[in-house]
């Protein structure tokens, strides 16, 4: 079975972003960029399915600027076979991401799409569910375990009360949660090999998709800052403060 995995280039998770002075967005110039961590987990899961003989081919796709090629090369170094860059310098919101991916699915005919549950920049948590809807495929979001057998995939999901397992008919869309696996690091020989793997480039216009944003960002502000507190010297002092000053216990 063919698997499509999506990878997004985002501000690295270690960077504490700064809001721009004109409130138009956050500063991204000269900021370290990386693969969205949930997408790394998605790639790893596909590679493991290939190692188990469940998957035959892994295609990775990214929508973004030319630099998203680096993100795709990383995915190729981790074990994907072929990459597709849908190149655009515009903001692409999840509805448009889903519409673009629907076209890629039509072209490549994967039986499963594995995506991250959430981009850590926009914190949307939408694209996977939206792609599943447009394809009319079932969805298994926030996955911490997946098992493929007989045209079905059992997806164990992290939900607010614990875990839930769904049985989905393939083809299906799965989105990864943190506990799905622990991604490997790319080895140097694999990084070299990845340079020769195919990376195809298309534009959203080639795919005939309207990507105009539906929500406008009017302004972006820094959150309210907490005032620095105090250090207490002992547990006794802490309990006293909580009882008599903060009055919370």
């Amino acid at each position: 079975m063919k698997i499509l995995v999506t990878v997004k280039r985002v501000v690295d998770y270690n960077v504490k972003v700064r809001v721009k002075d004109d409130n138009s967005g956050v500063e991204t110039a000269n900021v370290k960029m990386s693969m969205n961590p949930f997408c790394e987990i998605a790639v790893e899961e596909a590679v493991r399915l290939k190692e188990k003989g469940v998957a035959s081919e892994i295609i990775v796709a990214s929508i973004g600027p030319a630099q998203a090629q680096e993100t795709l090369r990383t995915a190729l170094a981790l074990g994907a076979d072929k990459a597709i860059l849908v190149k655009t310098d515009e903001e692409v919101q999840p509805l448009a991401v889903a519409k673009i991916l629907k076209e890629i699915v039509a072209k490549e005919s994967p039986e499963m799409v594995i995506m991250g549950k959430q981009s850590i920049d926009g914190d949307n948590n939408q694209s996977g569910q939206m792609l599943a809807a447009l394809l009319d495929w079932p969805q298994g979001t926030f996955a911490s375990e997946i098992n493929v057998s007989d045209g079905k995939v059992a997806v164990t999901r992290e939900i607010d009360g614990g875990l839930e397992t769904l049985e989905l008919t393939l083809p299906a869309v799965v989105t990864s949660d943190l506990r799905l696996n622990e991604p490997r690091f790319a080895s140097l020989p694999n990084i070299m090999k990845a340079k020769r793997k195919p990376l195809e480039e298309v534009s959203s216009a080639d795919l005939g998709v309207d990507i105009a944003p539906r929500t406008k960002t009017l302004k972006v502000e820094a959150p309210a800052q907490r005032e620095a507190g105090i250090k207490v010297d002992s547990v006794a002092e802490l309990v006293d403060k909580l009882k008599n000053e903060a009055k919370v216990i």
Partner: protein
């Protein structure tokens, strides 16, 4: 036009986050309908019908809705959608699962995790793990929105008198996705997102066994127990304990962080707590930058002392 809120429940009780979602809906308009889709969920429909501000309850009953899938819920809501200007649900794992699916079916870009209503089409939401707050305006005809419960005070659970209308949903049950099983974390303690006091442990706890020390304190304070991602990944506690950007968002009266360094992703889930206490042996730990009261100490000494002092 009316606003539709989709209720989160376990067929017996309404989830607390839905009360905050109804509160958000009331900031947008005043004709609030609530969909209760379940199995033997009559008690939920009844309790919703008396909630403050609710004008109508749509009650859908079906065997397969005991654990409703995103596919079935979406089909039910999409059929109703043209009657509504806004469709809202809590930004819990429940709401986040199906609301984007509804959005895509309606050709709408949903808005996740709103913390304030600026006008009927403009909302504030955190991005970048809460390090920036975006004000966004929707240009779609129907607004599909998930609501961060900590941003809105719950409506009263009495005083209302909504009519309850039954819906037939037989044609909307998906065969492509089926509930197989669930493994819910059992606890006598309050739920994390509803607790007034939370005590959370991190990697510094060292083991799941050691979390019992926090549980003992939680029981004395009537608190819930939470955790950092590192503590969950290490298998100390179940996944639903995780507080943070990609876990639960909490804002209790008192949050006690024990052996937690204070990574951006953890702070994103708890920095709106009223009072924050940090106990950590590393005085440079970033958690101290947001703590009202910091105690630099070895937790294995401080926690037993704290238990005795309470």
């Amino acid at each position: 036009m009316a606003i539709l809120v989709i209720a989160e429940h376990n067929n017996q009780e309404l989830g607390a986050a839905t009360l905050s979602t109804i509160a958000a809906a009331l900031k947008i308009g005043n004709d609030i309908h609530v969909l209760v889709a379940g199995k033997s969920s009559q008690p939920v429909a009844e309790s919703v019908s008396v909630c403050e501000g609710v004008t109508k309850v749509l009650h859908a009953e079906h065997e397969a809705l005991e654990h409703a899938t995103a596919e079935s819920l979406t089909a039910i809501v999409v059929e109703l959608a043209s009657n509504y200007s806004h469709i809202l649900a809590a930004a819990s794992t429940f709401g986040k699962n199906f609301m984007p699916r509804i959005g895509a079916k309606l050709d709408v870009q949903p808005i996740s995790d709103i913390i304030s209503v600026e006008s009927e089409d403009t909302f504030k939401r955190p991005v970048y793990a809460g390090n920036a707050i975006a004000t966004v305006q929707s240009t779609d005809a129907i607004k599909v929105i998930t609501v961060r419960a900590t941003g809105f005070d719950a409506v009263a659970t009495s005083g209302g008198s909504a009519v309850v209308e039954s819906l037939t949903v037989d044609g909307h049950i998906s065969q492509k996705s089926k509930f197989a099983s669930q493994e819910l974390t059992k606890s006598e303690r309050p739920e994390l997102t509803a607790a007034k006091i939370i005590i959370s442990g991190g990697r510094g706890m060292g083991s799941g066994e050691n979390f019992h020390m926090l549980e003992e304190i939680a029981d004395k304070l009537g608190a819930a127990v939470g955790a950092s991602r590192a503590a969950v990944d290490a298998g100390f506690v179940p996944n639903d304990y995780q507080v943070g950007q990609t876990g639960k968002i909490v804002a209790p009266e008192l949050y006690i962080a024990v052996g937690i360094s204070g990574a951006i992703q953890h702070l994103a889930g708890m920095k709106d707590s009223k009072v924050i206490v940090a106990i950590n042996k590393d005085e440079e730990a970033p958690i101290f930058q947001v703590a009202d009261y910091g105690l630099v100490a070895d937790l294995f000494q401080a926690i037993p002392e704290l238990k005795d002092a309470l």
